[in-house]
């Protein structure tokens, strides 16, 4: 799995901890990495992803359906799953303020439901680290 993930575009380094099943991925400096592609690559290597967290920086925008989102690339944004932290960022929508957030983009559904790794991720904010 480590080699498989390491071959994905935008990946600089992959650290795997076999004991607790934790995988740390360091993106290349250009930041052009696709979490959905990493999810698919992990599934393709025969391993189940229970959870995926990201730390990302970007501006707050409203997407085409009016939901708050973090714009991480000029043509890519992640809609926020609504919680108290996302409500706190509402006033920054459309402003040039860059925020750094840690959040969850994927969690394996409970029970026997099968997840769709190609579905567009929503970002559940766990922590707002910085506002610049």
């Amino acid at each position: 799995m480590k080699q498989h993930l390491g071959r994905q575009s935008g990946v600089q380094k992959v650290d795997v901890n076999l004991l607790d099943g934790r995988v740390d991925i360091t993106p290349k400096e250009d930041g052009k990495i696709d979490p959905a592609q990493l999810l698919k690559a992990t599934y393709d290597s025969g391993v189940t992803v229970a959870e995926m967290d990201v730390t990302a920086r970007g501006t707050i925008v409203k997407d085409s359906s009016g939901r708050l989102a973090l714009q991480v690339e000029p043509n890519r944004s992640w809609a926020f799953a609504a919680n108290e932290l996302s409500k706190g960022l509402e006033s920054l929508a459309g402003t040039p303020t860059v925020v750094t957030v840690q959040g969850q983009v994927y969690k394996k559904p409970a029970g026997k439901k099968k997840a769709d790794p190609s579905a567009p991720p929503t970002l559940l904010i766990l922590e707002v680290q910085k506002k610049e």
């Binding site: 099943g21 993106p27 930041g31 990495i33 189940t48 992803v49 967290d53 040039p96």
Partner: protein, 37 residues
């Protein structure tokens, strides 16, 4: 002279608008996986 000032204003204005988007990026990804041998 006025053209130079105007050009500088356009340059600084575009830096302010484009800057934050250019800085946007994913810094780190962490996964918890199951079934790893």
């Amino acid at each position: 002279m006025n053209i130079k000032i105007f050009a500088r204003l356009v340059l600084f204005g575009s830096m302010i608008v484009v800057g934050p988007v250019a800085q946007a990026q994913i810094n780190h990804i962490e996964m918890r996986v199951e079934g790893m041998t």
